[in-house]
């Protein structure tokens, strides 16, 4: 349990998608700076895109879409609750980022003229750019990290941020999950890129690590930002996805849709007009599952053999390549069989829904010197490319922020307290295994928070979560690996409590299934056309409050506003 100390200029936490780009761009702008990129796993294969990516879901490419079109579509898909300046900051940089990735060697689909082969999957516009050879993304980015001379540190689970007495970010503390060392890193700016809270709900398989998200993304960043005093936003706007039942991975609408695949009910009928993932689409999906027309399936059996082969060559090779193995085990062939779908466990994710650490269009959180990017930040539907762009924005802005600054003072008492918190489960003689605590916690999340949300159930959930908090003080870890799991259980519990608090605060329904409250079933714009923010109150408990939606850059007409509320197919189409 020795302590390792280090001082850098810019600390980037999270080596998945946003983090590496933040580090590369900071170092490119100011090569003399010490930039450290750390990850809980190994940067080479870290984060949501560890094995690659099937497609860019939100390409804004001239000739196919404009920033205005894109920002308006994302505004409508999010029932109006967006900071358009932040969405626009992504949209205007989208094409340049694609071109830069292309120049580095990331493969995007092009047509015979060399133009990017953009497809329409969203309800209104065309933004999906397939990546049939997207399995090399991480390797390409790793080469750029090496080229820029970014320092990398692996197997560090960051547990708390350090804030100086002046309120400025001062660094972070971490556990080395291999050596068991305590690591204190002082920094002038910190870019937090720790991904979604993907281990919040329990998959229906009961397998703790059978999550939609890469299970390393346990919500550590949400917890850290909260304890550092940052505002979090939209935590009641859950991430819920339509997935292959039991496998719990995407089917995936963005890949199969452009080839002619679509979602059907048990009668083989199409019931939603657009398979693009939105809360409104998920609500129709849920109604179909729970109604007499369920279950729901992905339909590909009407496609030509060579088309199915093309789909397999994407779905079974990139992003989640064990999909093929799973289907083989069940004897499922896309050519003859429908693929049974279900609804995922809940999570928090800016990249897929809108639940994240609040950032402005400069990726700045409300804590000076602390940035957030990627799935962790609340820029709605930002996906992989948005993570990269916000990584760039954060990295470059951090360089300007730290100019002429010294590192903020570190509070020795905070360091000592965190050291004690981290190592308590290791020093305890006996106790509850961290994974058992996690299992119970996440099962309770399913029981009490999974939409449709019910007030009384969420209140009971908060009582159960408080009991789990007492159990945290009885966890026993046998080694540094289990200690990492114990620290993750702390973060998951924070996320569960914050998600419940934000969900109870917004007394209306919004975003389809993401925030569907049966005892407040209607959308109430008069009262709730606001962000719901949550931060740590003076009493150390979550404090919820409203934040105004900033004036739109691109106004939404009355006839455009409800487009995503009309996703159900009026009369069943012939299959």
């Amino acid at each position: 349990m020795s302590t390792r100390e280090q001082t850098v200029d810019i600390l980037v936490i999270g080596g998945g998608t946003a983090g590496p780009i933040a580090a590369i761009k900071a170092k490119a702008k100011a090569p003399h700076l010490k930039v450290l990129l750390l990850d809980k796993a190994n940067v080479k294969r870290a984060g949501a895109i560890a094995e690659g990516m099937d497609s860019v879901n939100n390409a804004v490419i001239p000739g196919h879409a404009t920033p205005e079109q894109y920002v308006k579509e994302i505004t409508i898909a999010n029932d109006g609750i967006v900071n358009q300046a932040a969405i626009n900051a992504y949209a205007v940089r989208s094409h340049d980022m694609i071109r830069e990735l292309d120049s580095w060697g990331v493969k995007f689909e092009k047509d015979e003229t060399g133009d990017y082969a953009v497809k329409k999957v969203h309800h209104l516009g065309a933004y999906v750019l397939p990546m049939p050879e997207g399995y090399n993304v991480k390797k390409v980015i790793f080469k750029q990290l090496r080229k820029q001379g970014v320092a990398v540190s692996n197997r560090l689970t960051t547990t708390r941020l350090l804030v100086g007495s002046d309120g400025r970010i001062a660094g972070a503390m971490a556990l080395d999950s291999r050596s068991g060392e305590f690591v204190v890193i002082r920094a002038k700016a910190v870019v937090l890129c720790t991904g979604a809270a993907g281990r919040l709900g329990l998959p229906s398989s009961g397998y703790l690590f059978g999550t939609y998200e890469n299970p390393t993304n346990a919500g550590d960043g949400y917890s850290m930002a909260y304890h550092a005093g940052a505002e979090l936003s939209g935590l009641e706007c859950f991430q819920i996805n339509p997935l292959i039942k039991d496998y719990n991975g995407p089917a995936c609408a963005y890949v199969t849709g452009p080839f002619g695949g679509y979602t059907v009910n048990a009668k083989g009928e199409r019931f939603i007009k657009s398979d693009y993932w939105s809360g409104q689409m998920m609500l129709e999906f849920w109604r179909e599952l729970e109604g007499g027309n369920g279950p729901v399936f992905l339909k590909l059996d009407h496609l030509a053999d060579e088309t199915v082969t093309k789909i397999e060559n994407v779905l079974h090779i990139t992003e989640r390549p064990t999909r093929g193995l799973f289907h083989e085990g069940r004897g499922t062939d896309y050519r003859t069989d429908l693929v049974e779908m279900h609804i995922s466990e809940i999570g928090l994710c800016g990249g897929h829904s809108a639940s994240g650490v609040w950032v402005d269009e400069h990726a700045r959180t409300t804590v000076p010197g602390l940035y957030a990017a990627g799935d962790l930040c609340n820029v709605a539907h930002n996906y992989m490319l948005g993570a990269m762009v916000f990584g760039q924005i954060a990295g470059e802005d951090a360089v300007d922020f730290i100019a002429d600054k010294e590192p903020a003072e570190v509070d020795a008492a905070a360091v000592a307290a965190e050291r004690e918190r981290i190592f308590a489960p290791l020093l305890r003689e006996e106790g509850i295994p961290p994974t058992q605590v996690e299992y119970k916690l996440r099962r309770l999340v399913n029981d009490y928070l999974q939409p449709p949300k019910v007030t009384r159930k969420m209140l009971i959930g908060l009582q159960r979560f408080a009991e789990i908090r007492a159990d945290l003080a009885q966890m026993k870890a046998e080694n540094p690996h289990e200690l990492m799991r114990a620290m993750e259980a702390h973060a998951i519990l924070d996320c569960a409590e914050l998600a419940a608090a934000a969900s109870l605060y917004r007394t209306e329904s919004r975003w389809g299934l993401y925030h569907y409250r049966t005892d407040y079933p209607e959308r109430d714009d008069a009262e709730w056309f606001h962000f719901v923010q949550v931060k740590k109150g003076n009493d150390g408990r979550p404090q919820c409050f409203k934040r105004a939606v900033p004036p739109y850059l691109y106004p939404i007409d009355a006839d455009e506003r409800d487009a995503y509320d009309q996703l159900r197919v009026d009369a069943p189409l012939a299959a």
């Binding site: 190994n42 560890a50 094995e51 197997r155 690590f209 064990t322 193995l325 799973f326 106790g431």
Partner: protein, 77 residues
């Protein structure tokens, strides 16, 4: 607070004849996102130590001798 040992079947299968961890290779151990692969000091080969597999495949794909086969974890199959 007494405890008991749980038993689970491994979903990451390592072919000991092909694994070259005894020659210093650590590729799969390094790339596993959930850090569940360890060196068995007695055998000098890699084994799965925690039932925490995301069936994501970097271990299988990056193994230089193709010694690893990942199966879908039993609960999901």
């Amino acid at each position: 607070m007494p405890s008991i040992q749980n038993r689970n079947i491994a979903s990451v299968i390592v072919d000991a004849d092909k694994c070259i961890a005894d020659k210093g290779c650590r590729v799969c151990i390094d790339v596993c996102p959930t850090d569940i692969l360890v060196l068995d000091p007695a055998q000098g080969k890699v084994r799965m130590a925690y039932d925490e597999c995301w069936y994501c495949l970097p271990c299988e794909h990056d193994c230089p001798t193709k010694a690893i086969r990942v199966e879908i974890p039993y609960l999901l199959r």
